[in-house]
């Protein structure tokens, strides 16, 4: 694939220069790009209108059409996003550790950019500017493969960014867009190992699976969340209902929404009818075990598969359990290593749950909706990692860097 090779070589050339940019130069770059997005919004809106028309004619669903659509306000939000990244501290160059060896070698562990980052995403054109901003601030070159439905929008946004960078003598190849929507090209991109240091998919479960299965480049898996809340026998039930309603309904289509609820059988009789009414008031369909359907009128019988589903919808699965151990075992079987919570006032149960549940984020007495870069104070969100290598949970700018060792000697040889 000559086309991809060409992109790869240019990205590698760009990364060599980007790694030497000072924080000031990078911030100036972000500022110029933010202004250019506002200044040239007509071009972007025109390109977006073209995507929108094609998608609408092709019968795209309302919700997706809305995600695709850009407005003057949304472009302003993209520019504002870049300014927020500008304000964040630059992780590159940090001396993470320093140590001296008995033989006189001095070793520094230094934070450096990854190099070239590949990002594969779906139909949200705002990801284009956002991904650029995060990679650029961390001194990385980025190669983007966006969804074909947002093709013209992504092309226009990329063009605006490249021109803005060129004007201030920063390599335009800091951002490159793959302008070929062949599936074979996307698959070949996932194997562009000689140029790309890390690949991040951003999108639904299908996209992530395809990347994990096909990539030979190290992948940071982000994403799907089958998040649980366990209401323990020692829960403060006054706190429980607002937390559950928030985790389930505050935003329905996000990866940190609660999809499944476990309730200790000792409190089922008193708690479930009340909880059922609260959820049903919010139009949430309940799918539960026998005890649940018995205690919550209008609830449905859950199939075993329900416990493994990320609904992203007004549906919740529910199950009664007899102990915190049973809750932990159920969660570890069905969760996606994302976010799970226990509601309890019992210190021993908290500890057991925090240690035993195998998730990036384990909560006590709070909504799972806080698994988010901004909520954690990281400032900008690269994604939520659900794997265990490199980064787990909300990823900030630091997670787009790696390190290297600088070893200084004065003639040391190994005996």
């Amino acid at each position: 694939m000559e086309y991809l090779d060409h992109l790869g070589i240019r990205a590698v050339e760009a990364k060599q220069k980007l790694q030497f940019l000072s924080t000031e130069q990078k911030n100036q770059g972000l500022d110029c790009v933010a202004r250019a997005l506002t200044d040239r919004q007509e071009d972007i809106l025109k390109a977006n209108a073209r995507d929108y028309e094609i998608a609408k004619e092709g019968g795209m669903a309302e919700g997706l059409l809305d995600r695709l659509k850009l407005t003057s306000d949304r472009i302003e939000a993209m520019a504002e996003g870049l300014r927020q990244i500008e304000a964040l501290p630059d992780p590159v160059g940090e001396i993470m550790e320093s140590f001296d060896r008995p033989n006189g070698l001095h070793i520094d562990k230094v934070r450096v950019p990854m190099g070239v980052i590949g990002i594969i995403y779906e139909a949200r054109p705002n990801v284009t500017a956002d991904a650029f901003g995060l990679c650029f601030k961390t001194g990385n070159a980025v190669i983007l493969k966006g969804g074909k439905d947002a093709f013209y929008s992504n092309q226009a946004i990329t063009e605006v960014i490249r021109e803005a960078l060129e004007k201030i003598q920063i390599p335009a190849d800091a951002i490159q867009l793959i302008e070929n929507n062949d599936r074979a090209v996307t698959t070949a991109f996932m194997q562009l190992k000689q140029y790309v240091d890390v690949l991040i998919p951003r999108g639904g479960a299908g996209l992530i699976r395809a990347v994990v299965e096909n990539s030979t480049i190290p992948v940071i898996e982000t994403g799907t969340g089958n998040c649980h809340i366990f209401v323990d026998e020692d829960a403060d039930l006054d706190k429980a209902i607002p937390i559950i309603i928030n985790a389930k309904t505050q935003r329905i289509g996000v990866c940190n929404a609660c999809e499944s609820l476990l309730v200790h059988e000792k409190i089922a009789d008193s708690f479930l009818p009340k909880l059922g009414r609260a959820l049903q008031e919010k139009q949430v369909e309940i799918r539960g075990d026998e005890k649940v359907t018995e205690l919550i009128p209008g609830s449905l019988q859950a199939a075993e598969e329900d416990y493994g589903r990320e609904y992203l919808d007004y549906i919740i699965s529910m199950k009664t359990v007899s102990s915190v151990e049973e809750a932990i075992a159920h969660i570890n079987r069905y969760n996606t290593r994302h976010s799970d919570a226990i509601l309890t006032e019992n210190e021993e149960h908290m500890k057991q749950f925090l240690q035993g549940v195998d998730s990036a984020c384990v909560y006590v007495n709070a909504s799972t909706r806080f698994t988010d870069g901004f909520e954690f104070g990281f400032g900008a969100e690269v994604g939520i990692s659900t794997q265990k290598l490199h980064a787990r949970g909300p990823m900030g700018l630091k997670e787009l860097t790696t390190y290297k060792y600088w070893i200084r000697g004065n003639g040391q040889i190994r005996k």
Copy 2:
């Protein structure tokens, strides 16, 4: 593959228990296993003799036969290795960061085991005990796939370890060996994503490539090293020759040996003849560019491919360059992101080289042979990572762990 599913399920059951073991319990386990290896060496030696005989009949080369062969001393060294791991600090449970959010959430970032680690390796049976020790000390369950040439040895060692653990009520499934040498089983193992959290290949370039290409489990790529030394125009030439001889010849078959040398053209006339003699005295074959062959009698003309080769032999490639920039560009083109050195007394060139060379370990005025867990003071060596995700360079025990966030609240919901 029912067989692998079975191993996976047992490993997951074991990890649930192993993560709760105290440092004391883990050290006791290592101690018992070390003693059992010594006590039961007859069984291990018998099994090893069987492997050795088959391999010898099959025509295995002398060097490989030597790697395969166990002796009483070598078993003692395996036991001693476990005792060394026992003496290292336990990274699990460390609170890496703690922070409070304005909404009152308290967040701890806690170091935890990976869970289940898969290790695929070649014909060295000592890796079996070594890999177990490293994974066990970090609270991980390990599934091993060793080379078929060491099959009976690995089986015997695994059995001794499992029995020793069982005796002190630690789950024997802390270590499991895949006892099926079908290639299809190994490939399926690389895709056992629902049970295995991370996969580490230990071996030659071919094995590593196969794992990277076939695995759907996150991989830590270890290994190949095409390591460079650049002798700058401002090098102290008295230091240079001992460093080069050490890096090339102290141990020929290792990944941090020097395989390629760059020399600034300004010092070529004075330095190369002397260097050539020193290398040739050590029986090192020199393959160089025109200038090199002109200045070093008996040296051969290098082909372009020579610059990309990891010889692991008494051969070195050599090239003259006109600047530190050219040296950096050459190295970044041909190296394997492992270890590269500059020899110079010029502060500006040091800085350029340290920043510009894209390797795990970048050296100034020292041999590349120090890229090693013990030499870095990490105590035990899991491998040398040549990728940028998660870990780079020598990996110690910490690199077999991940983290999770513990978030404690008192009813927080997201607005």
